[in-house]
């Protein structure tokens, strides 16, 4: 856990708060940053009923075992990353939110074959919404984003966007997406998204 006063979003230097508007807007695409997400990586055996139950008890969420899906609850999402790997994401700026989340999981999983890893400040969360959000993503992402294939809210995938590795989570059928990207790619990806969205009209909104 980094000292609270040193925590800084990867996009802090862009001063987004200074030129963002309150949603909703007429723009085809609304961009925002959800600063400082809490991320904890979870490994374990979804075939082990005790593991599945312990996760449910700790997070109050069912473990998503279906590929490319996430379960979401109050400010918390649990994303399927692989057959034995998940990502718990929380939007909570409180100082020790990450340690608390990890501790809760570790306590519940004590004695089980599982691993809980805090991801620190490694990820940046960008939010992309609006009627043309899919069109923007499609410019740089090889996933089939048609609702028929990318099945709406609660669908997630790890892929590439403009050659940067991203984890994509659909949070609303509207549609709206959350993009998790490594912080060293955040500035590049933000600028890429602004440029790709320009033709549809883009508004920077408050998260």
């Amino acid at each position: 856990m980094i000292e609270t006063y040193l925590r800084q979003s990867a996009l802090d230097h862009l001063g987004l708060a200074g030129h963002s508007t309150a949603a909703p807007t007429e723009a085809g695409v609304q961009l925002s940053e959800k600063p400082l997400p809490v991320a904890v990586n979870l490994r374990g055996d979804s075939g082990d009923a005790a593991f599945v139950e312990a996760v449910r008890e700790a997070l109050g969420l069912a473990l998503p075992t279906l590929p490319n899906t996430a379960t979401t609850g109050e400010g918390l999402a649990l994303l399927w990353l692989g057959p034995d790997e998940w990502l718990a994401m929380q939007h909570d700026a409180a100082a020790f939110a990450e340690a608390q989340l990890a501790t809760k999981l570790r306590k519940a999983l004590d004695g089980l074959h599982a691993a809980v890893t805090e991801m620190g400040e490694s990820l940046c969360c960008l939010s992309l919404a609006g009627a043309q959000a899919r069109a923007v993503l499609a410019k740089g992402c090889p996933l089939d984003l048609h609702p028929r294939a990318f099945g709406g809210s609660g669908h997630c995938a790890q892929s590439l966007l403009a050659k940067a590795a991203v984890t994509l989570l659909q949070v609303s059928d509207a549609p709206a997406f959350e993009l998790y990207v490594r912080r060293s790619f955040a500035d590049y990806l933000w600028r890429w998204l602004e440029d790709a969205a320009r033709e549809y009209g883009v508004a920077v909104v408050r998260p």
């Binding site: 590929p67 490319n68 990353l81 692989g82 057959p83 790997e85 090889p142 996933l143 995938a157 790890q158 892929s159 590439l160 590795a165």
Partner: protein, 97 residues
Amino acid sequence: MLLIACPHCGPRAESEFHCGGEAHIERPKDPASLSDAEWAEFVFLRDNIKGLVFERWNHAHGCRRWFNAARDSVTYEILAIYPMGSPPPALDPRRYV
């Protein structure tokens, strides 16, 4: 662009994957007993077949898991996907020369 069916994530674009080269190359049980030529054979030499090949692939930008694929190196058709550690499936060898 190949569309590769990751056994975990489903069909994904080739750009998400990394090819790990020829599959089923067994590490010598007793490396110290090998001659230089035998060691070079294990480390460097590959069959480079025109036809059916067995390869290791990694879903590098997805679930990051390894798997094996049987592929036709002429048509690029992927003929089978099977887990690491499994023997290669019995398939038509498709030799073109």
